[in-house]
């Protein structure tokens, strides 16, 4: 097995453990878009501090690990138009679908939720087609 696959598996187990802590501890589903979105549109005002605590942990942990393990680089595009379009699509899409890779993907699939599975199939298909079109046909990304 390639070392990056092993790191993927270890990181994945930590992500699953994170979801288990939030579910068994606070009774909440770990969905990043829901946690952020509830702060942005006010729907999560009641438990805003637990949302902020979660996001603070997610923001700080990589900074602590930086220099010890992993790649502290996103290697993201610097094309502002692509970044803005992508951000708008991710923001609106996840809130309309009520979930993203963590909520529908990790937490939904693991409880055999049909909605989680269908959402995951659609965002992976859409992502794959978008890459195929914008990278291999148009050569933009």
């Amino acid at each position: 097995m390639q070392p990056e696959w092993i790191m993927g598996l270890i990181g994945g187990l930590l992500i699953g453990l994170a979801g288990a802590v939030l579910l068994l501890g606070n009774g909440r589903i770990m969905g990043a878009s829901g946690i952020i979105g509830g702060l942005v549109d006010g729907s999560g005002h009641g438990d805003r501090w637990t949302r902020i605590a979660f996001l603070a942990g997610a923001f700080l942990a990589p900074l602590v690990l930086m220099g010890v393990v992993g790649t502290p680089e996103t290697r993201a595009t610097e094309n502002l138009l692509v970044l803005v379009a992508a951000g708008l699509l991710v923001g609106t899409g996840t809130r309309i679908a009520n979930g993203c890779t963590s909520g529908h993907g990790v937490c939904g699939i693991s409880r055999f939720s049909l909605r989680g599975i269908v959402a995951t199939v659609f965002y992976i298909l859409a992502g794959g087609l978008t890459i195929a079109l914008f990278r291999h046909v148009l050569g933009v990304i």
């Binding site: 453990l17 939030l22 068994l24 501890g25 692509v82 809130r95």
Partner: protein, 144 residues
């Protein structure tokens, strides 16, 4: 208690995303790029994450209630609707374009530079306008 558990969960989440390489947009795009140099790492991350979560969902049946009080989430809704399909499709398009989704956008904010900040700002704007779009999707289509 709730705050500490949320902080711990967030830290594990951020550490997992970072260690797994999911804050590296080229890895995420590499997984979606089946016609290019395909990178299977994301499948290992997903698989690794689903394992403990499956166990956690089973434990909710035994535990009765969460450690910090309250209730476990209700059973998932069985029905599919156009919001789920349309929203997930839009999300997937953005995910493919930049290689970022909401979790990694937060986890990489500290080292992602201007690109990460621009993406996050646009994502937050999208989340702000989403409730209005959602309401419009719910209203019946007027007859021609």
């Amino acid at each position: 208690m709730r705050l500490l558990l949320a902080l711990l969960s967030g830290a594990l989440f951020g550490a997992g995303l970072y260690i797994s390489g999911m804050t590296d947009t080229t890895r995420v795009q590499g997984w979606l790029d089946v016609f290019g140099n395909w990178d299977p790492t994301l499948a290992f991350v997903m698989g690794g994450a689903i394992l403990p979560m499956t166990l956690a969902w089973r434990l909710t049946r035994v535990a009765g209630r969460p450690v910090a009080g309250g209730q476990f989430p209700a059973a998932p809704m069985p029905e599919l609707d156009r919001r789920l399909i349309l929203g997930s499709t839009l999300f997937g398009m953005g995910w493919g374009l930049a290689g970022l989704c909401p979790g990694p956008a937060i986890a990489s904010l500290g080292f992602g530079g201007i690109s990460g900040i621009v993406f996050l700002a646009a994502m937050l704007l999208g989340m702000m306008v989403a409730p209005g779009l959602k309401a419009r999707l719910d209203s019946p289509v007027p007859a021609e």
